[in-house]
Structures are given as C-alpha cells and as structure tokens.
Symmetry: C2
Subunit: 417 residues, 2 copies
C-alpha cells in the first residue's frame, strides 16, 4: 500500500498566507475557487519541481497532471529552454529598447502558426483576448461579441459574468451567448443582430470546467468560419489553454479551419512569462493603431525561452507525442475503473484530457476518487481538464495506473456494490 | 567633439520587424507613439545593458535615463537581485502549486508599504489598476470612477479614451474627469454624483506626458483623503510609475496620507515581471471574493527578485539617494542651458524628473535638443518623465552634463540669438 500524504507544513504556510494575501492563494491555484481538489487532499504549496514531478512543502512527490495549468509542456526545468533563457539573461531582459530576439520570436511564430501573418507580445493570456476583442471592434465598428457557454477567456471585466464581484452591466452588455456546437442558434444570433456582431471568440473545442469536454461536431468550425467570412465578422480562437498540445500550427489548423486572430500563452515558453496574439494581415494595421502596451511586454528572456520551446516542440513533433501519451494513460485509467465496476469517462483531446466518474451525478464520488489519487501522489483535479507534458514517461503512466487502482479499490471498499 | 551615433543595424532590424509585428515596436517603446525621441536620433533596438548603460544594436553606448521606463531602479544586472532570482529558478518558477516565496514577498510588502495590510500579485501594472477599480465597485456597489486629467493607468479599455481605437462608449461611460490640484472641481463632482462614486484613481502627483509635471498643492491630498473617507469612496493610488523612487513606504506616505489601495509594478523587482496591489484590511474580503488570476501570476522567480530588490533598496535608503542624484543632475542641466541663453525647466520629483526647454512653446526646439543629446549618447526622451537608477555615478552625471553642453552649443549655433 502506498504512503498517504500529510500536509502539516503546507497548512502552517497557508495560515501565514491568509494574513497577508486575499484568500491565501487566489484564483485557480487556490483551494477557495470551486473544489478543484478536496481540501483534505490539497497540498497547497510546492517546494520544488523537475520534469513531470512536483514536490509539495511537506516533501510529498506528485506526478503532476496539471503542468502549472498548462505552461509546463516540455517538463519543469527543460534544459534547452532554460539554457536559452540564461544566455539571453546574461545579455539583457527588460530594457528601454527591445532586443531583436523579439523579431526572431515573431518570425518563428509566423513560420509555425498557420493563420499568423504577424505576432504581438504581451504577458497574460487575457492581454491577448482583450486586444483581440478591441481589434475586432475597431476593425468592424461593431460592438457585440459572441461567446460559447462554458467559455473562459481570462479575467478582464468584459469576459466575466454580470453576477461576478466588481463587474458592472456595462462591461458585459454587448456579450451574446451561444451553445457549443449549436450552429442554428449561432445563425439566429447573426440574424437577430445583423450588422452588430464584431467577433466570435471561442476555444478550439469546449474544454470548460465542471462538464465533459466536447469536440467540435463534424463541419461545425467550417460553417462558423464561412458565417464569419460572409458577414465580415472577426473569428477569434482563444488557444491559451490548448495551444501547442493539439497542433503546433494552431488548434484551428488541427480542426481544419483558419482563425482571423489566435491567442497564445501558457505552453508558449514552457513557463517563462509571455503571451502572443497572432493574426491575419488584414487586421495588422488595426492593431498598429491601438494604444496597447505594458511595462514588461518586451522583456527579452521570455522571447528567447519561447524560441527554444517552439523549436524543441517541432523537433519532438510534440503534439502527436502528447496525444499518444494521453491516449495510453486515459485508456489505462478507464480499464482500471472497469476492474472495480466504476465508469470513468475521459473527454477532450487526450493531451488535455478531462475526467469524470459517471457513476454519481452529484460528482461527489468523483471528488472522493480524485482525493484518494492525490493523497497517493497523482496530481489530478476534480473538474478541470488535465495536461500532458513531454517529460512524462511510460513508467510514470504505469505508476499512475497503479496508484489510481489503489484509489478505486479504496472507493469500492467504502461503497460496496 | 563627441562621436555622432549612426543606426544602420537598428534600421535594418526595424525593416524586418514591421513585416511580422504590428508597428514594428508597439507602445511607449516604439517610434510611432507620439514623438518620444525624434526618429533620426532614435536607436530602436538594444544589444546589451549593464548598470546605468544601454548599448544599441549598432554598438552605441547610452547613459540610459529611461531605465526601461521605470523597472531598472538598481541598475541593469544588479548582482543581488539576479543571484536571488537564479537561486529560486534552480528550485522552481511557474508550477501547479505556488512556492512559499509568495508569502515571504507579501510579508515584506506589508512590512514596507505604510498602507498595506495585504498584497495581491499579478503581471502588469494594469492588472492591478483594473483589480483596484473592480474592488472599489464591488465594495461600494457604485459605478463611477474619477480620473485626473493627464492620467495614465494602463491600457485596459476602462482606462482609455472614447476616441481610442477599440474602445466603446460603454467602457468609459462611468469615468469622470477632474483637473489635478483642483479640489473645488473634485468636490463639485462629488456633489453632482452623490452616492455614485466608487473610487478616485490617481498617480501620487501629476506626471503625465507632454506637460510639466505638477506636485500636489499643500494640503491637496489631505483634503482628497478626507473627502473619500467622509463619502466611503475608495482612494486608489497608482504608484506603478513613481513607486519606490519617492518613498519605500509608498508615494502616498511621501505626501503624508494613506491610500486605500496602491498599485505597484515597474521598480518592484528591478525588471523581473511582477506587479502588486496592496491595500487596507477593510477591502481584503472583497478582493478574496473576486475571480481574478492569470497563468503566470504565481511564478516564483519574480517574487524572489522582488524580495531582493526591496531589501537592497532599504539597505541603500534608495529614494533619498535617487532624489539627490536627480537634483544634482537637473541642477547641472539647467545651469548648462543658461550658459547658452536657454531656459530648461525640470519638474516633478528629481528621481523621475521631467524636462522642457521653455524657449519655444511649439516644443520643437526641445525635441531638437533631445535629439542632439541622444545622438551623443545620453538617452533622454522628449515629453515623458525620466528615471534615475542606483548605478548612476557622479562621473555619469558629469559626462551627461558635458554631452548636453555640446547639444546646447549645437542648438545655439543653429538658432543664434
């Protein structure tokens, strides 16, 4: 039997944190936001990271399937990316004038991403979704933006919900909402708001939280693309989460269409802090006309890291490799669940698989299982997709299956048929 | 006579950049935004940086008075900050769970900044001004925000002007504008919009572009503070630009009042990418209730850099030192202008001095002088405040005066009395 983790040091650290930080740990990485990991199993703080492993403050080791919620795509401390970043750091990082590594990075993105004629760099994924929305409004002289229900496009007020703290009705009054894969409903919105729709913003497939992830229906994206083209509406793909785990040429390319604007962050530089908006030529002058910048947006180190990251992902043909690993893992997990008479479902593209134990519609059984996995060293979360990284080995997958087997056994003991 | 810079390599790089990056170099660091440096003198790209010096792509060396527009406060490649960052990088940076260095940094800010009971970390200065505005709206259940004319609070749509590309009227319809130092006008706004004003947002003094910088009139901030307290309005100080160059306890502390929320970025970690919102206890629960986070907001390396930066600034009693250096420099510049019959004015706090040649209201003479300085290796800009950093020596100041003397001589030759 595996050792069961305990978290004394993390608990003590959290006590200290809540005194000086709102929520202690805010946002998706904290215990307050939803119930991503049952609190009794949540390790809270890390002490080190290497490859596919994360150690918490109490010294427990985890096979980390969250990958910093995306950024860790090559493995923590990837030697090639870190070496490129260190070389650039010795020269310059955040300076009064940009370094030409910025141009090299833009060149590489234009060469790599199918729909990219240009690249614009910032810090947050949300900087790029906001710039995309502003670009669409400036270009079309229209105001309305269509979102697919279950979306996440960052935390700027215009992306949030009216009942969120700090959001006012004017922030979201031009947002329209459509069901994923429902082209008829989308076409109705275009009819009803003829000449008013600036953009559609969408993730390449529906990888929202608290729901099975849904791939696009056959032909859905092609119909959306045609509708946008026919109505001069800007088609924005938010590839912040999925980017480079489906297709290095962009997740739009994976699904056989071309976005007008595509947003990248997370996996772009293996954790070095940079995001990018790429887009088509006809929108370049509009972006040039905007007042949009930030204190650190031309920092050179993340550009060097991004170049090394993309070059290595190309060498490894990485998305294919990650999808294979994810397929092997999820197949193993599902088989293990059947062994104990449970019905585990895996949805989404396997390189960012979403899990749900379908035996209990309240999701409590699923949460119990996740807790038992985490307590034994497999870092899953309840209701968010997971991420595969390049450092994950077959031995790690085997160990994961072994641990989840034990977790299913515990669950079956506790809930006999 | 000094060598006159030429910029062949930078020009060639820019040609390459405009093909793949909107504007080539966007925002405040680029040649398109206003006329910060006359284009014939603008070096465009850097090749390396050290201490107070920046080298451009053509190998020209500059004494850099822009300091990456603020972040460089201890000197480029400060050994103490870089060592702390490297130590943390060897452990972990962007991971699934935060490192406790995040708590250490919050503790240090709470100990350092007078009005801070807590700290919240993000990436852009604008992340913190937006969070501040959302917090004020959530806390007060009011919508309107008062800005002082000449302000800059980032690039989020709500901070911009109605005539900016991509901004719609709903983004800015609850913004109210007041003249700096005009308390009567401010009080009138509070009368007219009684019970509707969520916040005042302001830089600690008016350091807008294209205008002489204006310190607060005696008692102005104290009256503003009282008005906010009496009306339960949140007082937000945007210390992104001035922070740590006036007072390590906050620029509000320098002017003898306390903000409710204070925004930091730039000088916080000597160029490592991090920003912070600090605030008073009564707003902590409101911040805890918000959905506000980002992919890289808990990256550990910038936290370690920030701790080292603040500790070193404390050891050096840095703001006093920077103000002394700035005073010495601006006094020398003004005296040199008088030598040639010109009337150079320096305004603002000397650690972030603003320059204007008052002999020509069209500002063209000023731009000519700036160009002659830059062409000889002193990196000034036309109509933006400058920044002093800790690595600036008396020898650098002497060299600066010598170069500006030559620039004034050229100007007088060209424009005889």
């Amino acid at each position: 039997m595996r050792k069961i983790n305990t978290y004394e040091k993390s608990r003590a650290a959290f006590e200290r944190a809540v005194k000086v930080i709102p929520s202690g740990i805010y946002g998706h990485q904290g215990p307050a936001e939803g119930c991503y990991i049952p609190i009794e199993a949540f390790p809270l703080y890390s002490s080190k990271a290497q490859g596919t492993y994360l150690w918490d403050l109490d010294g427990n080791r985890f096979i980390d399937y969250m990958c910093a919620y995306g950024p860790n795509i090559l493995g923590y401390h990837d030697p090639d990316v870190d070496a490129a970043a260190a070389r650039q750091r010795a020269i310059s990082d955040c300076t009064t004038l940009p370094n030409t590594v910025m141009i090299d990075f833009a060149d590489l993105l234009v060469d790599t991403v199918a729909c990219a004629d240009w690249a614009f760099f910032a810090k947050n994924g949300g900087d790029t979704t906001t710039l995309a929305a502003m670009t669409a409004r400036a270009y079309t002289h229209r105001k309305k933006i269509i979102f697919f229900k279950g979306y996440y496009h960052g935390v700027a007020p215009w992306t949030q919900k009216i009942d969120y703290a700090g959001v006012i009705e004017e922030d979201v009054m031009h947002n329209l909402y459509c069901e994923w894969n429902n082209f008829e409903q989308l076409a109705e919105l275009f009819d009803r708001y003829k000449g008013e729709i600036a953009a559609i913003i969408a993730q390449p497939y529906m990888h929202g939280n608290f729901m099975d992830n849904q791939l696009p229906d056959e032909g859905f994206w092609q119909k959306v693309r045609k509708l946008c083209t026919d109505t001069d509406t800007v088609l924005i793909v938010d590839d912040v989460r999925a980017g480079f785990r489906l297709d290095l040429a962009g997740s739009d390319h994976y699904f056989g269409f071309e976005a007008d604007l595509i947003c990248f962050c997370k996996a772009l530089a293996n954790g070095y802090n940079v995001s990018a908006l790429c887009g088509k030529d006809f929108l370049k002058n509009t972006v040039s006309s905007m007042s949009y910048t930030g204190s650190y947006w031309m920092s050179a180190v993340p550009f060097a890291a991004g170049i090394a990251c993309i070059e290595k992902m190309k060498r490894l043909d990485l998305p294919r490799f990650l999808i294979e690993k994810g397929t092997k893992l999820t197949k193993g997990l599902i088989e293990t669940s059947h062994k104990y008479g449970f019905d585990l479902r895996a949805t989404g593209v396997p390189s960012l698989f979403y899990l749900r134990l379908a035996d209990d519609p309240t999701l409590r059984l699923h949460q119990e299982w996740i807790a038992e996995c985490v307590l034994r060293g497999v870092f899953f979360t309840n209701h968010h997709n997971h991420f595969i990284n390049a450092a994950l080995t077959d031995a790690d997958i085997a160990e994961t299956i072994e641990i989840t087997d034990e977790a299913f056994a515990v669950l079956r003991d506790r809930h006999p048929v």
